[in-house]
Structure formats: structure tokens, C-alpha cells
């Protein structure tokens, strides 16, 4: 009984407080369904560099001065 209470006390104290949420997604840190990286699919076959290049290029397309100014 006393051990159980102590354990509950310690657990409860450990559990208190706000845990930092960092902007790094470590697989294994979050044990829900893990999400595939956007390049791990049929379109990109795990080619991360190609994906990054494509997305960057599409991002630049949003700059209309580049498009009209040549």
C-alpha cells in the first residue's frame, strides 16, 4: 500500500507540467501512426533531393516578377 502510494505520488509529480514540443519529428517519439515523408511514395521513390528541388521550384513560381520579368 505504502509503496503504491509512493509510486503514485512520484508518477504524478513526474507527469505534471508542460513538456516542450520541439519542431523535430522523431519517429518513435510519437507512437501513433507514423506518417511517410512526402518523398517516400510512388512519385518520388524516396528521392529526397528531387522532391526538395521540385517544391523549391514551385515555391519560386509564386514570385510573379520572376515570371513576367523573365
Amino acid at each position: 500500500m505504502r509503496f503504491f502510494l509512493m509510486a503514485a505520488f512520484v508518477l504524478a509529480l513526474l507527469g505534471c507540467g508542460d513538456r516542450d514540443k520541439v519542431a523535430v519529428y522523431k519517429p518513435g517519439d510519437y507512437q501513433g501512426k507514423s506518417d511517410a515523408a512526402p518523398w517516400n511514395n510512388k512519385t518520388y521513390n524516396g528521392d529526397k533531393a528531387k522532391w526538395e528541388g521540385d517544391v523549391r521550384a514551385r515555391g519560386r513560381l509564386q514570385d510573379e516578377s520572376r515570371r513576367i520579368g523573365g
Partner: protein, 208 residues
């Protein structure tokens, strides 16, 4: 590593609600759910400004901090996603979010909340990419196709920018540099740069 961000240029947004419509169409979100909305400040007063707002994919996300089942996660690209299979519809993320991004389809009587739905940065969710389930729960996964969010990509005035934070802020920085000074700041000179500034720019580009 790319960190995905949205940026809305209030000088350019003309409140056409195209982004809102495009988002609804792209993801076929249920009735009553609006992942994106356009808010007009001082509507009808000269100098009114419009801003398109959705989930801003916060780095220290309040929604993530308060969720009692811890169903949120950051992807490698800094997109805040959540697992709808875990969500219990408690509404806490909605209380905490500064932008009112989390939405709930009302599934029950007395306003009982369904599973939370929010902007995914067109990055789908924790299901197999491009699968039927992913589309039903989270909408289209454009990021996995090498595309950016539909709202930003189709914005007619390019007020709403989305994508890698570095790219987006660079575009905005260049735009801001071209903006007219002094008397030119009124009207479209601010939004699209004053004429002399544009010419100077072209001249410069021609030289280099």
C-alpha cells in the same frame, strides 16, 4: 531542412475568397468546416485590409500542447498534422489556437463535436500517401506530389504565399523592396511596386 510557412500580404489580398473555395474543393471538406477563411479588417473603411488565415503550422503549437490524447505531430517540414483516429473531439485545440484553425463537423445532437479537422498544408495525414482513407480523412496530399498548398498556388494576386519559409520570405522581401516610397505608397503602388521601381528593376536585371 525546409520549414513550410504561409504568408499573406495584406497589401495585395483583395478578399476574393478564391483560396477558401479552392481549399474546400480540393479537399472536399464537409459542410460547416472551413479550413481557411478571409478576414477583412475595418471592412468598408478606406484603408481596409484583408488577410487569408488558416492553420499557421506553429513551431510551438498550442494545439499540440493541450491535446489530451497527444494526437498532433510535426512533420519534417514543420507541418502540424494530427491523427483523426485518436482525436476525441474535446475542443481543446480550438480553445488554444490563436487563429481559430481547428474545425469540427457537428456529428451529434447538442453540438457534440466530431473529429477535429484543420488545414494540413495539403500534406495529408498519417495514412498511406494518396490512399482513399487519407483523402477521406485529411484531403489531398499535394506535398507528396511535389506541389504546394492549392490556396497559395492559385492565389490570383499572389497575396497568399506558401512553401519553404526561406523561399516565401525571400519573395516577400524582394517585393517589399520594390514597394513605392513616400507619395507612392497609396494604391496599387504599394502592392505591386511603383512604376519607376519596376523599370529600375528591369534595367538592373538587363545589365546583369
Amino acid at each position: 531542412m525546409a520549414r513550410m510557412k504561409f504568408l499573406c500580404d495584406s497589401e495585395r489580398c483583395i478578399e476574393c475568397n478564391g483560396c477558401v473555395t479552392a481549399c474546400k474543393n480540393e479537399h472536399e471538406v464537409p459542410w460547416g468546416v472551413n479550413r481557411r477563411r478571409v478576414v477583412t479588417l475595418s471592412d468598408g473603411v478606406p484603408g481596409e485590409k484583408s488577410i487569408s488565415v488558416a492553420c499557421m503550422h506553429c513551431s510551438d503549437a498550442p494545439c499540440m500542447a493541450v491535446c489530451p490524447v497527444d494526437c498532433f505531430y510535426h512533420t519534417d517540414q514543420g507541418v502540424v498534422l494530427h491523427d483523426k483516429d485518436m482525436c476525441i473531439g474535446c475542443g481543446y485545440c480550438f480553445y488554444a489556437c490563436p487563429f481559430g484553425a481547428p474545425q469540427y463537423p457537428q456529428t451529434g445532437t447538442f453540438g457534440m463535436r466530431g473529429k477535429m479537422d484543420k488545414c494540413t498544408f495539403c500534406a495529408g495525414g498519417p495514412e498511406i500517401d494518396h490512399s482513399e482513407e487519407e483523402f477521406k480523412k485529411y484531403g489531398r496530399n499535394r506535398l507528396a506530389e511535389g506541389k504546394l498548398p492549392i490556396c497559395a498556388e492559385m492565389c490570383s494576386t499572389k497575396a497568399l504565399l506558401g512553401g519553404d519559409g526561406d523561399v516565401v520570405s525571400e519573395i516577400f522581401r524582394e517585393r517589399a523592396l520594390k514597394r513605392g516610397k513616400g507619395a507612392d505608397v497609396w494604391g496599387w503602388g504599394t502592392a505591386y511596386g511603383s512604376a519607376p521601381a519596376q523599370q529600375q528593376d528591369k534595367a538592373k536585371e538587363g545589365k546583369s
